[in-house]
Subunit: 526 residues, 2 copies
């Protein structure tokens, strides 16, 4: 038995041990007995079955047991380190409209920030406070002593070099905060100045070079807490953190680099000498020409960058040239979460599209159209009737349960109810809200309901539908019909049902699944 | 020369090297030459004077050179570790009204959170969203997937155990966030349930016990990244972080402890066995009776606690008993900044009070009242006249410059202008805004102005004031008077001047400095 018992038990996937909605464990590690052992185990049918000394039983999918460790996307392990020449063909960018409309475009931008450390959105409306709206597309604004947002322009009595026209060497912001804001956004409203260009340096790359060229200097910078500080009339921030932070297994995970904010390091003389030699070597690497990525932010450009990896810089500009950026801070964790959810939704759309193009393109149980044609017809009928988006989606997806359940549609046609409405609704509920799933859940009941309350309805059913009506329970009794009509979503289900019944026209012209992707994508995000 | 040259130069305090307003450095470490050496140095007059090979000169106060390193208040070094019995006499708490009114009371609460990890505010208004107002007294709300604030009460379809009536073992929140929110607030609006008591455990203390009892287990937990995760329809957060995080020199600085949110750790079998043994040992320590601090939050109580140090718990409660808390997250860095600024302000008030009670109690240059009596009279005259707070403060403090400058008030009386209005205004500007400092800066000019524009005014001056008028430049010319009248704050300065002239009554009854502390405290916070 190659699996440690407490590890195995802590990962028991049964519904007593884990909340199926969010995967959170329902027990404490201290709830497990001290002498826990495996009394019996057997492998078969793709599962490892385990009996425990306390009587509990667990089943583990074998493929879960073999899963590799996921890379840690907050460390260098999950990054692509770069130098300026890597962007000779252009920097990662997207148009604001496309970013908003297309989840694939949004995912590409967020993935660039996660993997490369930055991306630029173009044609973002040049209105004040718009940088907050950009942040809200993937996370939450982190307010600081500089405000919810800050204006980067020349100020008469600046409390920070940012608010002057001076050049600023590559640095990270707010190293005196702990936790330091991990993302920064800079939205250009105006840049008519001579000068004032932007620069970025990959701090992970610089640290990686230091580790290669001078491993002892690298190690010294990872283990020396540096006192960062900022002070004005209303603020007195300090944080003792290393310039290069590695994780518990030695991978680079954060860079703090800002000479302006380093207070007085107090160490024995020899250690100070060694620290300053290492610090100066690292600082010199950050200035190497091949690491300097330079570009110019114009009005409407919004730069999003990783403030615990990239160093940002600015060239000096003429003080009378107008230059105005608005910036704010945010955090990488929410960005990563948004990206993961977008990826999940894009995968859902791909899965649905494959259903329509694969299995769904086969015959539809006893009808003259394929399953895909039937569902596409239902969807476009809903769209042409001006139905709400959720009803269009419900019509389009109402029969996906035929593909999903343990009992297939084919078995339904041999007399076993496959409960495809429930199966489909449950499966879709991992991505869609009840406004889409509940009419699907009720669309079979709606047939039984309509047979009960509309005398002519039953006669309009197709032969296959009349057959399955019997398997599904026949027309409702008057009591059943009254109970059904009172359910939330019953009227939507009746509407979907009528579309279902009409959507069996052979050789009708329908759009492909692709046509519905934007609508489905929007519903996934609700 | 016992000081490393780059360290010494990096800390040059001259105004070319440092912004005197915020202490930020005005150069980059890479701006220093590669072959920097000290060409000459001499110690004397309390300073180390240094000449550098690049021609720069620096002066370092000897007492600065000898300063010790400041403790890092984010690590165990700056904490007082505790067990439950330490609070037998009561937990750290304050009344909300007193917390708002008295900076010393507010500082005591924030210091308790910083040093002990928690404090309770009592009689906080039981209105919704009030927890956000509490947070804004010391920092910024950290929004998460649970919202800007979250309601802790029984919910019909909970996405988290917090929103049920179940017991919850000691844990920290949001370990799947990176950066994790470092503070949590819980404001009790209603607690009529049987059960539903609160518990706290000092996670630093538990980790410290583990280090003593099983050093290898402690070390293992500090160097094993654990995959924390949370997932629902709109969220997919993950963070690989150790249960016990130490800083670069091995001090405990953060605890993450929440079995519910630990995903699957993937390590070689022997390492998993060792990890789970260490994890279970640490978990068992967190449950020791002597570490469990238990208390009950009643309506109006707001608990503020360190979410990267303390573990919080809740006993189960009867589902039909009404219990409603509102919570939110925030961060320790802003709390520490607010505390440091409060301490600075309290020290300023103490310094001013000492001036009034010490040096100020001596004779006032040539007048029949002491300096303190004169300023207290001016302050109370302003107060009785219904002057704005800033003008009362300016009247009270207008002559503090007599104590501060290199040229004393006594020298003024021997014919050297000590420019006490500028000296006082500059000194006070480290704490007060221009609404207080500028009338003080201009109050001597206001005398020269009034002599120019009001024929009777000069005759009303005291003999000493007539004498100093000459030292200070005599009456203004008409051009000077017009220029003065156009200055911002000129009218306030004239008002302060008139109070100054009236405040020389021997044996007048005036309140002590203590009377003005609340008004000054409020102005310091503006």
């Amino acid at each position: 038995m190659p699996f440690p018992p407490y590890w195995l038990r802590d990962n028991c996937p049964c519904t007593n041990c884990r909340d199926p909605r969010n995967g959170q464990k329902l027990f404490q590690i201290t709830d497990l007995p001290d002498d826990l052992t495996i009394t019996h185990h057997v492998t078969g049918d793709g599962q490892l079955e385990v009996e425990w000394s306390d009587g509990h039983r667990s089943n583990y999918p074998l493929e879960w047991l073999d899963e590799p460790q996921q890379p840690d996307h907050r460390t260098e392990q999950g990054k692509r380190l770069w130098q300026a020449a890597d962007f000779a063909a252009g920097i990662p960018e997207a148009q604001w409209d496309a970013y908003l409309a297309d989840p694939a475009e949004q995912a590409a931008v967020l993935r660039a920030v996660q993997r490369l450390g930055f991306a630029v959105l173009r044609a973002v409306p040049t209105v004040e406070r718009q940088v907050l709206a950009v942040t809200e597309t993937f996370g939450y604004v982190r307010e600081t002593n500089y405000g919810e947002l800050f204006d980067v322009r020349v100020e008469p009595d600046p409390n920070n070099l940012a608010f002057t026209s001076s050049a600023i060497a590559p640095h990270s912001d707010n190293p005196y905060r702990d936790p330091v804001p991990t993302l920064q956004l800079l939205h250009c409203l105006e840049n008519a100045a001579v000068g004032g260009d932007s620069g970025l340096v990959d701090g992970f790359r610089a640290a990686d070079l230091l580790r290669t060229e001078a491993p002892e200097d690298f190690a010294l910078l990872t283990r020396t807490p540096v006192p960062f500080a900022f002070r004005d009339r209303h603020t007195e921030l300090s944080a003792d953190r290393p310039l290069i932070e590695t994780d518990a297994v030695g991978r680079i995970r954060e860079i703090r680099f800002n000479n302006r904010s380093i207070g007085t390091l107090r160490l024995p003389e020899a250690e100070l000498d060694a620290f300053y030699a290492a610090y100066r070597r690292f600082a010199a690497i950050t200035l190497r020409a091949e690491l300097q990525l330079e570009f110019r932010l114009g009005p409407g450009d919004c730069l999003i960058f990783d403030n615990v990896r990239l160093l940002h810089a600015r060239t000096a500009f003429e003080q009378d040239g107008r230059r105005h950026l608005q910036g704010c801070y945010a955090d990488l964790d929410s960005l990563a979460s948004t990206l993961a959810v977008l990826d999940r939704r894009l995968a859902a759309l791909d899965t649905l599209q494959q259903l329509f193009e694969g299995e769904g393109a086969g015959e539809y149980l006893g009808e003259e159209v394929t399953m895909a044609e039937h569902m596409l017809q239902a969807g476009i009928l809903a769209e042409r009737a001006g139905a709400p988006d959720a009803q269009i989606a419900a019509a389009l997806l109402h029969d996906v349960g035929h593909f999903q359940g343990a009992v297939t549609g084919r078995q339904l046609m041999t007399g076993t109810d496959n409960r495809h409405s429930d199966t489909g609704a449950d499966w879709l509920a991992q991505w869609f809200g009840p406004e889409v799933t509940e009419p699907i859940r009720l669309h079979v009941a709606a047939k039984r309901y309509l047979c009960a309350v509309e005398p002519d309805y039953r006669a309009s059913l197709s032969a296959a539908s009349e057959y399955t009506l019997q398997v599904q329970g026949g027309p409702m009794t008057p009591d059943e019909a009254a109970a059904f009509a009172a359910l939330p979503g019953a009227q939507d289900a009746v509407a979907v049902r009528r579309l279902d019944d009409q959507a069996k026209v052979a050789d009708a012209q329908t759009p492909t699944f692709e046509h519905f992707r934007p609508l489905l994508a929007a519903l996934l995000a609700r």
